[in-house]
């Protein structure tokens, strides 16, 4: 088809959708819509993982980001009942500054990535690297230390979240007495 393979077509469509949904995340006024567009963006990115033969990553990406994290986002937004009216009005100055900064950032990225298609691949990855067996091999051999240390990181985050979330029992009692 028009000189492109199916993979290239899929890549193009997925990229277009991902970018479009990402823009809609930013531009939609309703926070719930933003979250839903973000979920769609995640699905597109999961599609990219699939194109790279990384099935496990794709599914985990959906399960963790779309299925858990974004649900919590949606949760909070729904509970707070945020909608268009609550959107803080931005002044035109901050808008202009934002546009300028984002534009500069875009220029840097485009300028940097321009011409990279002519670069030669010096190191090609194993095409099966994304399959779960190979992923497990890499994770438990080469990346064993980071894998183990992530448990400390998650534990710390867990303790922190619980500490901040727990009700202060004793102090409330004291306040009532006073």
């Amino acid at each position: 088809m028009l000189g492109y393979t199916i993979t290239q077509w899929l890549f193009g469509i997925l990229s277009f959708l991902a970018v479009m949904f990402a823009l809609l995340v930013v531009f939609s006024k309703n926070p719930v819509h933003s979250v839903l567009y973000l979920v769609l963006t995640f699905f597109c990115i999961a599609g990219h993982y699939l194109l790279m033969n990384a099935q496990f990553l794709a599914i985990v990406h959906i399960a963790v980001y779309a299925g858990a994290i974004m649900v919590l986002f949606l949760f909070v937004i729904m509970l707070l009942n945020l909608n268009e009216q609550h959107e803080p009005r931005r002044t035109s100055v901050s808008r202009i500054i934002g546009v300028i900064v984002a534009g500069l950032f875009l220029m840097v990225l485009v300028g940097v990535l321009k011409g990279t298609e002519q670069l030669q691949l010096t190191n090609t990855a194993n095409a099966e690297a994304g399959l779960i067996k190979n992923l497990g091999q890499v994770l438990f051999n080469e990346f064993l230390f980071p894998f183990e240390i992530v448990s400390i990181l998650l534990l710390a985050a867990l303790v922190g979240a619980i500490m901040l979330g727990k009700k202060e029992v004793k102090e409330n009692v004291n306040e009532n007495r006073i």
Partner: protein, 351 residues
């Protein structure tokens, strides 16, 4: 290539029709069973034993007036039941319904697709299923719907953890494969997984009840508090889709349980039986017997789901959360630890 597409299309269509039929007749069976449990008849007017009742219900749903609340978010309101039913159907594609059949020289698996990360796929799809409920509840622009949706999704997220961890234990004792069909093959050679994973099965069963929003975990549809829960504002066929999807989710999770823990199409002395009958591997009779066995197991689980619904009272919300986080999650971690020790003794894992 054409043969492949044809074969896959047939399988997909068959599974689709099967799911729809079972979901429809599950509602009939539920009413019959509840009638039996409560010492009454249940539906008995439409056809023999009320067998045409699901069709009548479906027709009624189809011809009722569609009401879309004025202040709702129309697009999301309409799309939500669709999302819900799609995710439940997609979860069903992994189930290998019968042993592969041999036509010519090739084996044809009775499964829509056999991806090597089937278990993770299942978890991913079920976790996305929350969106149908959440979007539906929010888009209705009704406090009851919203509360129902939030309850449902909180419950699904909470129970997903314990479910995932009990599945990890299952995978360890099933020989470290994430593919659904390979999990079944392991049970063909040895015992059913429930022998090695009794605690894991109990946890998975309770979590499945919660994931499918069935009683005693049906707080999302708690009539006394929330009118109709997240589908309060839904009517006609969109309501029908929601109810339909719930039955379908029950069907899929029963099938998954029967496959993961009770051997699916395998049964004791299957090989001996086939030998006595003089059947070769890949024969279509084996496939038929296997399918019947698997289907019977699934129906048994559906019946157990219903039995529980008409026996146990509904949980309170804090009880539900306590059960999920303080009982099932630690238990599933304990189960994981026990599994590792047991499998080490069995010699299935080395250090």
């Amino acid at each position: 290539m054409t043969a492949f597409i044809l074969y896959k299309s047939i399988i997909c269509l068959a599974i689709f029709i099967l799911s729809l039929t079972v979901a429809a007749y599950a509602s009939w069976w539920e009413r019959k069973l509840s009638g039996f449990l409560q010492d009454r008849y249940g539906p008995n007017r439409a056809g023999k034993w009320g067998l045409l009742q699901p069709l009548a219900d479906g027709g009624k749903m189809l011809f009722k007036e569609e009401i879309i609340p004025n202040l709702s978010n129309k697009f999301l309101f309409v799309i939500a039941p669709g999302i819900f039913i799609i995710t439940t159907i997609v979860a069903g594609v992994l189930i290998p319904w019968a042993p592969p059949v041999k036509i010519g020289d090739t084996y044809y698996a009775m499964q829509a697709t056999d991806i090597d990360i089937g278990v993770v796929f299942l978890l991913g799809v079920t976790s996305v299923g929350v969106y149908g409920i959440m979007i539906g509840g929010w888009a209705s622009n009704n406090k009851y719907s919203l509360l129902g949706a939030i309850r449902a999704s909180a419950q699904m997220i909470s129970y997903e953890l314990a479910m995932g961890i009990s599945l990890i234990a299952l995978i360890i004792s099933a020989g470290g494969t994430l593919s659904f069909s390979e999990i079944l093959q392991v049970q063909d050679a040895g015992y059913a997984n429930v022998v090695w994973q009794p605690l894991g099965f109990v946890i998975f069963f309770v979590c499945s009840l919660a994931e499918t929003n069935r009683a005693p975990f049906d707080l999302a549809e708690c009539e006394t508090e929330l009118v109709g829960g997240y589908h309060t504002e839904y009517s006609a066929f969109k309501l029908g889709l929601f109810l339909f999807a719930e039955y379908m989710a029950m069907f899929v999770s029963s099938a998954v349980m029967a496959g993961f823990y009770f051997g699916g199409y395998n049964f004791p002395f299957a090989a001996e039986l086939y030998q006595a009958m003089g059947l070769e591997e890949g024969s279509w009779i084996i496939t038929l017997i296997g399918f019947t066995v698997y289907f019977a197991k699934t129906l048994l689980f559906i019946s157990v789901f219903m039995w529980i619904r008409w026996t146990l009272p509904r949980f309170r919300y804090d009880q539900l959360m306590n059960l999920g986080w303080k009982a099932l999650l630690p238990l599933s971690l304990l189960n994981l630890a026990i599994t590792v020790v047991v499998e080490f003794i069995r010699g299935n894992i080395q250090f």
